[in-house]
């Protein structure tokens, strides 16, 4: 059974059908790319998957379970975590605390234990700190654990967002333009990080990206969207050679 199955997904905003008849199957362990020109509806697909928008039609199944139209919080608990195209960190909080907020549902500690500083509070905090530092070290951010996240350089903010999403222990990780605004060196590092979390955390990844080097470098399968509809789907090498795809990106003749 596929990890993620999307059938005939559509959403209508007034007269605009932003996503129309979208089908996608992501197998466990896939590193899957979703590409397309600006305004093709890629982020809208992510927002539908994570419960920000409710689809007009269609079914989304995660691990065989219907999660269509459920609220964002429940979908995260079912096992989908995401990053955002326009970075959404908890800007006033430290890097470490950002990841600890991601760990929120992995640990239990009653408010009373926190307020009265019972031993269970210290035990849980210690576990959370260790787990958070472990995740930060994957992205070479452990040295900046105390930095206020808004003060991080742009590339590191993107990485922190991935670390925070990983902290929720997802089955499927959605990355919305992870390399946007990164220089070539940072993109190289990011590609290595994405490969690393896929190997070591057994992660399935679906990503939106415009940087073709990254897409061609790490994605095994691609879906190309144009004007809310699927243009083509398949192995990365085949898709990138498709004349329709080249036409969508570069225009006619």
């Amino acid at each position: 059974m596929a990890l993620l199955e999307i059938n005939q997904l559509s959403i209508q905003f007034g007269g605009l059908r932003a996503v129309d008849d979208f089908n996608l199957t992501v197998e466990k362990g896939d590193l899957y790319g979703l590409i397309g020109p600006n305004g093709a509806g890629k982020t809208t697909v992510f927002n539908l998957l994570t419960g920000e928008y409710k689809p007009t039609e269609g079914v989304i199944r995660l691990d065989g379970k219907d999660i269509t139209g459920r609220p964002a919080i429940e979908i995260n608990r079912e096992g989908i975590a995401r990053t955002f195209q326009n970075i959404r960190l908890f800007r006033q909080q430290s890097v470490l605390d950002n990841v600890k907020i991601g760990l929120h549902n992995q640990y239990v500690c009653s408010p009373a234990a926190a307020i009265f500083r019972l031993p269970s509070y210290y035990a849980v905090e210690k576990q959370m700190n260790e787990k958070a530092m472990e995740l930060l070290s994957v992205f070479d951010l452990e040295g900046e654990a105390d930095t206020i996240s808004a003060n991080l350089p742009y590339g590191k903010q993107r990485k922190l967002e991935i670390a925070r999403a990983m902290a929720t222990n997802p089955k499927l990780l959605l990355l919305d333009e992870p390399a946007a605004g990164m220089n070539p060196n940072e993109t190289e590092e990011l590609m290595a990080d994405i490969r690393y979390i896929r190997e070591n955390f057994d992660m399935t990844i679906l990503l939106i990206e415009h940087d073709m080097r990254l897409v061609a470098g790490i994605c095994e399968k691609l879906t190309v969207l144009n004007f809310g509809r699927i243009l083509t789907q398949g192995e990365t090498k085949e898709v990138l050679k498709d004349p329709e795809v080249i036409k969508a990106y570069l225009g006619d003749d």
């Binding site: 919080i73 955002f84 908890f90 800007r91 408010p111 530092m133 105390d146």
Partner: protein, 362 residues
Amino acid sequence: MKNRMTSMTKASKDNLGTILMLVAAFVIVEILRAAGLVNAHMDGMLVPICVYATMAVSLNLVVGILGELSLGHAGFMCVGAFASAFFSKCFENSMGVFPRFLLAILIGGIVAGIFGFLIGIPVLRLNGDYLAIVTLAFGEIIKNLVNVLYVGRDSAGLHFSIKDQASLGLMEDGEMIIAGPQGITGTPFNSNFVVGFLILLISTIVVLNLINSREGRAIMAIRDNRIAAGSVGIPITRYKMFAFTLSAVIAGCAGALYSHNLSSLIATPARFGYNMSILFLVFVVLGGIGSTRGSIIAAVILTLIPEVLRFMADYRMLIYAIILIVMMIVNWNPKSRAFIQAHSVGKIFGKKKTAKSGKEGA
């Protein structure tokens, strides 16, 4: 690993600084009182200062930590004041002072908390300024409601009315507890500076401990970015309810302290009206939104200033306004903030000294 240790001690050091500041201020005031250096007028200010500082801690939890605007916190204080005074009047002769006052404070907090919870159920599901609008209305409604409430007691039990005293139909042995616009008179005079200080201290510790916990981080995550908080599975409405209800409980306890410091408790606009709610908001904004310590300091200074400036007669409020503006500039100007942050330990002691000398000067 090393970094993590320093981060933990930094946060707890900061909290410890706030608590030490409170304890030191308490000790200094007690010494001054023992030495007879505090005049009767200033002595009478001590409990209201504790009440207002506790209100500042309570409102800072909603405005600074949760990031929602409440314009009716005086309403929660009013509920706590009347609920606790009602309880104390009912059990004035049947309980010892200590357990009765302790229960009165708890009841003030719980009843205000219930109101906070009920208001939160519909409003905190929404995003936007709805809480400000609804709490503003709540503050006004609760004040007017108390003003038409008549409650009396006789050998047959309690009698309620919202018309007048006569319609209660009390028997000869009856006595009024809440007399509409006359409010509650003769509440036992139990509040004192020590109790006030303890309520302020406990509220501060509760809020500071909450901030540095799993729940507190979740609450601040909602403030910083609601969509991202939802995307990592934080139950937004539940934590908003939790923080808002806790804030109402603290406001109710402050109200209980307030009502047991008055011989006659009346729900006047001056005490529980809109202007009071705005004054609490001024404490929080001037103290630096989100800073519990700053809110307390601002509450103490701004409560003292009108009293200290009393000798200026008509110019008093003019000077008060100028001080407000200067404090605002000093607190929010990036350069002065950078300076304060660079001298943060000095800041604790520096501010406390000014507060102390303010008390001495009076």
